[in-house]
């Protein structure tokens, strides 16, 4: 590592002009990220034309700010409105939204902001220290490894449902079915599109998420519209965390900044898988898993840490290999090209100043995010104090604009309405939505990876047993299915024995 370059990077990033750009970037990113349907991808795409003719360093700092801001802005709508705009924030809504509903919106947002900051900052340190070494990880992952990883993600379904396992499985299968709609990538065959070109690219994540989560929740809010908003109105914006609560966040933050970073390095569904796996592993580690889904602090800290850590992880293949691993980094690559920076294997060697400048600007972007957002939180949280009847109407419009800003067609809005109805019915009959969305997100990639592997191997299944990583991931998947079953069995047995003993002594 080259300390003088890092110092230089910071020097550049810390010049007064650039600090202003960092500030503007973070603010713009947060605001755009909060707008319906606009995630980091659109935020950066929108900012690109603005950076023509800007000094490269300033443009980079602006973009880093926009990027982090948009990621955080997305969590806000997930927590406040149960409307996850980006797949990486779905898991945040599981505990974030219930906590906000308990009148602790400020607290939930503060936990998200702090965990995002910690996850982001810790993983940027990793990025500095180990980027060249983990770069290879990105390319060792081929179709078989991805298949195994997605499988591991799917095993999480069992722990995402508290009720009936069979209902969770049905939800997941239907989610997979929805994922098969559209043009199949390996053959170009249109599946279940009924000749409609609007369905060729499949159903967008946002439509499913806003329908199943946000619109279904709107129905519940309508039923409860006459209840008082929140009992302690004045407390909504309070973001003070007790020492104990901060301590509670320590564990998830340290664990998941590592996990998130590593998964983020893998091109593909990094942040999403990272946030789900973090949420689930935290739930499994917990002594009181039943408190998850009801506003558990760790349930917010874990996914928020890891989706932000994955964000930095995604920079590894971009900066060291020139491979954009996600939609967002692909747009970011475009943004870098505009300002005359070509990321790639030679970047560190040819332009160490730019490389470290990017990293320094990521630090600064993260820091600004925290500084800017903590004071904003009380205001944001007050959104929930808007009278219910108005809030309901605004959330509906919010979802509709969101989907329109992605699909630009009313056809998809009708589908959104359909998913809203489906989501409501699923709640009425206790079918969980989480396995549905998880299967929907992972399903497409899992199928494609499997078939890519089979094409390359000419149809031989042996290919799945030739890589150590693949085998290891299979084993972990098996463990994650069977360990809970077995331990559950023993627990029940122990409880039964206990009861018996009690019965006898009584």
């Amino acid at each position: 590592m080259d300390f003088s370059s890092i110092l230089y990077g910071f020097q550049v990033a810390l010049s007064p002009g650039n600090l202003i750009f960092a500030f503007i970037g973070v603010l713009a990113g947060t605001v755009i990220g909060m707008l319906p349907g606009l995630g980091p991808i659109s935020a950066i795409a929108i900012m690109i034309p603005l950076s023509y003719g800007m000094d490269p360093a300033s443009a980079l700092i602006l973009m880093a700010g926009v990027y982090y801001g948009a990621v955080f802005g997305g969590s806000t709508s997930s927590i406040l409105l149960n409307a996850p705009g980006v797949s990486g924030t779905v898991a945040t809504s599981f505990d974030g939204y219930p906590m906000a509903q308990q009148g602790k919106a400020g607290k939930a947002l503060a936990i998200a902001a702090i965990s995002s900051f910690a996850g982001g900052t810790i993983s940027v340190v990793f990025l500095m220290l180990v980027a060249p070494f983990v770069a290879d990880l990105a390319v060792t992952f081929g179709p078989t490894e991805y298949f195994a990883l997605m499988l591991l993600g799917l095993t999480a379904i069992s722990s995402l449902s508290d009720g009936s396992t069979i209902k969770a499985m049905i939800a997941a299968v239907v989610g997979l079915m929805i994922a098969t709609v559209g043009m199949d990538q390996q053959t170009g065959t249109s599946r279940f599109t009924f000749g409609n070109p609007s369905l060729l690219e499949g159903i967008d994540f946002l439509i499913v998420a806003l329908g199943l989560f946000a619109l279904a929740e709107v129905c519940q809010l309508i039923l409860r519209r006459k209840e008082k908003e929140s009992k302690k109105k004045s407390d909504v914006g309070n973001l003070k965390l007790s020492k104990g609560e901060l301590k509670e966040m320590g564990g998830p933050i340290s664990r998941h900044s590592v996990l998130g970073f590593i998964l983020g390095v893998l091109p593909g569904a990094g942040a999403t898988i990272a946030s789900f796996l973090s949420y689930i592993s935290e739930k499994r580690l917990s002594k009181d898993p039943s408190s998850f889904g009801k506003g558990n602090i760790k349930g917010i800290a874990a996914p928020e840490t890891s989706n932000n850590a994955a964000t930095s992880g995604a920079f590894v293949p971009l900066l060291t290999l020139g491979i954009p691993g996600s939609g967002t980094t692909a747009v970011l690559l475009g943004a870098l090209l505009v300002v005359g920076v070509q990321p790639g294997p030679l970047m560190l060697q040819d332009h160490p100043d730019v490389f470290w400048g990017v990293i320094a600007s990521m630090y600064i972007g993260n820091l600004f995010l925290l500084i800017l957002n903590l004071p904003l939180i009380p205001f944001l949280a007050k959104i929930l104090a808007i009278p219910r009847q108005l809030l309901i109407s605004l959330i509906i419009v919010f979802c509709l604009i969101g989907v329109y800003a992605v699909s630009f067609s009313t056809f998809h809005l009708y589908i959104l309405l359909g998913f809203g109805v489906l989501g409501f019915l699923m709640r009425m009959f206790s079918f969980p939505a989480a396995p549905f969305i998880l299967a929907f997100i992972l399903g497409g990639m899992m199928e494609q990876s499997f078939r890519q592997a089979m094409t390359i191997s000419n149809g031989s299944y042996n290919v799945f047993f030739q890589s150590n990583i693949t085998i290891a991931l299979f084993i972990v998947s098996l463990l994650s299915i069977f360990v809970p079953i077995i331990s559950g069995y023993f627990k029940k047995k122990a409880e039964a024995n206990e009861d018996e003993r009690k019965g006898r002594t009584a």
Binding site: I46, T187, R225
Partner: protein, 152 residues
Amino acid sequence: MANKPSRWIALLLLAIAGVYLVLAYQLPEFPYAIIDSDVLPKGLGFLLIILSVVLFATAKEETAEEKEKRTIPKNDLVILLITAVAIFIYISLLEVLGFLLTTILFLLFLPTVLGYRKYGVTVAVAFIFSGVMYYSFTYLLNITLPQGIMPF
């Protein structure tokens, strides 16, 4: 059967699985694929059939709690339906009347139906929210929302 709504759902799922399978069997063959595009859909169709059968067989009588969760007062049901229809009309008019006009109308209508009585606030919110959203998307962010019959 009356007390076991899961059985009705199982039958419905069975029907969905059937339709899905019929469509899956109609997928055209791709000459060069080792695993063709119909393999996963067929598998999912059969899996859903098995799961619905299991759901049907294991259906238990609904607990009082579950039943209560499902009971919606008639009044509320009407409101839910009105909301859904309002959204439907909103979508149908969006590209005809334009974002601005449709959204203003929607935001005037829905809060009132839901029982919000401060009309002044409703009007202000409808106009300002729609205006701010339209202006920021179309003019500031260059993401064009439908203009419709409005001149801007």
